[in-house]
Symmetry: C2
Subunit: 350 residues, 2 copies
């Protein structure tokens, strides 16, 4: 008996495509969002429109080897994160997500149990955010795992926040702290290399919990979106931070036809992000500005409206909007004012 194989492994071929769909359907049979009328099982899901609200629609695709490495990404976390990054797109429009469709392509390397873990993660995210999985597709892949999710949400027309609404003089704010997911990735990549060099060594993840959690189990800031409804606060422009602060603020500036002045010292960093970046000989500003996958909200607001949110400890003022001609600049800790460089993620760079 091979003790390594005590984890149950059922081949997907034994279930077939319809069998696999049935197990997924059973997991999401109970619809939780009041707008979900018909979920999985017909040619399309049926969703009740919300009175006086507009519909939001977005989609994201995650590819193994590009967006995630299964060597250190548990499938349940991957499913959770794949759902969250879609919820975050809806939050970035100041809306609330209500339904998703999930399409996956999987090679026969994956067992039924592995796919079940993936959907358990999606289900955990859906339960927490009151979103229903109402459709999608399952197919085989010649190589790795691909997860493609689309998300539907609702927002009142007067609440829609675009990237293009920033005005000269507006304040620039972020929720939470930045750069932790990027440092979490560095930690896990280091452990992976260490494991390849010597598989007997135990991972050294002391005090890295927060960073790893930020990478593997991010959250969408719907808590903030719901708070704002109560405070009657609407940002002038907003985007979620998936590619790093520098890249995202440049999207806002381009869409709004303005420039920006960011003050480096104001960018919120968790102490563990700061400490670990020094340990890795990485300038902490790189984590904050060019590290991605924080899924925090970056928004602008008039100085007057800012008063409504300034006492929220989860919101930090990091700069202000200036004329387009003045450019997009960063005031460094040394007092230098330098142009912001948006590295972002470029999947197609060689």
């Amino acid at each position: 008996m091979n003790t390594k194989n005590q984890v149950k492994r059922t081949e997907i071929a034994t279930l077939g495509e319809f069998g696999l769909i049935e197990t997924i359907k059973a997991k999401f049979d109970k619809l939780i969002n009041p707008t979900s009328i018909i979920g999985i099982g017909d040619d399309a899901a049926v969703i009740q429109a919300k009175e006086n609200e507009q519909i939001l629609l977005a989609a994201d695709m995650m590819v193994e080897g590009i967006h995630f490495d299964l060597a250190y990404t548990p499938l349940k976390h991957l499913g959770y994160k794949a759902a969250i990054i879609n919820f975050s797109d809806i939050a970035a429009m100041n809306g609330v997500p209500t339904q998703i469709t999930v399409s996956i392509a999987i090679s026969n390397r994956f067992s039924v149990e592995a796919i079940d873990e993936l959907y358990e993660g999606i289900k955990a995210a859906c339960s927490l955010y009151q979103v229903d999985l109402v459709g999608g597709d399952t197919t085989s892949s010649v190589s790795g795992l691909i997860i493609s999710i689309s998300v539907l949400g609702f927002v009142k027309p007067e609440w829609v926040v675009k990237r293009s609404g920033a005005k000269v003089g507006d304040y620039v704010c972020v929720t939470g702290d930045l750069g932790a997911a990027y440092m979490g990735l560095q930690v896990l990549e280091r452990e992976k290399l260490g494991f390849i060099a010597d598989p007997t060594i135990q991972p050294n993840l002391e005090e890295k919990d927060y960073l790893i959690q930020r990478l593997l189990k991010p959250e969408a800031r719907l808590d903030i979106i719901h708070q704002w409804k109560e405070q009657n606060f609407i940002p002038s422009a907003m985007i979620d931070i998936s590619d790093g602060l520098a890249s995202e603020i440049k999207h806002i500036c381009a869409a709004s036809n303005v420039g920006v002045q960011i003050v480096y010292e104001n960018i919120p960093l968790d102490p563990s992000t700061q400490n670990t970046s020094l340990e890795f000989n990485i300038n902490p500003s790189v984590c904050a500005l060019n590290g991605g996958e924080d899924y925090e909200l970056l928004f602008t607001t008039s100085a007057e409206n800012y008063l409504k949110v300034k006492n929220n400890p989860d919101i930090t003022l990091i700069g202000h909007i200036i004329e387009k001609e003045k450019g997009c600049n960063l005031l460094t800790e040394n007092g230098l004012n330098i142009p912001l460089y948006a590295q972002g993620w470029n999947h197609f760079e060689k």
Copy 2:
């Protein structure tokens, strides 16, 4: 000078992900559906709900090597078809598609020009059906091409047609003719094998135009859906034929808790489907029953309501709904009544 390389080839890396998104955005900048408020370019698209209508949402994924072979599938046709199969899902609910999101994963084997062809095909389908491409994702892939589309549409609540509404005594009908796409696939597979054996031979596609067109450039039967609105006709159950008649009617029977009696001789086959199947030594019933990708509509209706559509030359009565206990049966041309066997597509079978 290499004459083979006169087709322009721009590497995606020279454009980068943002450059690629900009070229796609430019292609779909002009929104054509009145419900599209904000398209590509923000975190999510904004769509105006239609008064007194429900929302339909579906998704499909196409994987190179599983769903298509680029050896004989022009990218423009592939884009067209990827959009059409999604529109067809909305038609199968008796609704009208209005928006899609398109996510693609591509390896660096594809040039900017190739991706442009793909989106030209999607645009052609969108223009014809008055649908807007409002979002999506572009990423790189380690191997082939993956296209994941989600589609949103609208339908009046009283018009929604599910798979589950078929009643004992209802008539079973199909639109158009069946099996042609399957024979088109056989023809192209034969030509591919011929080309591999001897690259100098010219393809022999005489009189196969219709079959190949049905495979490479299918249509969604929105024409029928619009006609029915005018005739005030609503089927009792409906599904679109993507996996072959046998498989699809079984889905209706399972969802409706009924059985079915199909009469083989009534199944509409184009003469070229019939002739080519004989040429290939394939029983024509295999094309009709188990060949997929016709994207015709399979529906049931009460005998009384059938009168509204019986004069439509594009609709054929092929059987009727019976008690569940009597099973799902096919009356063959030899007068034998045999159980329907649904082969369908099983991507996960070894």
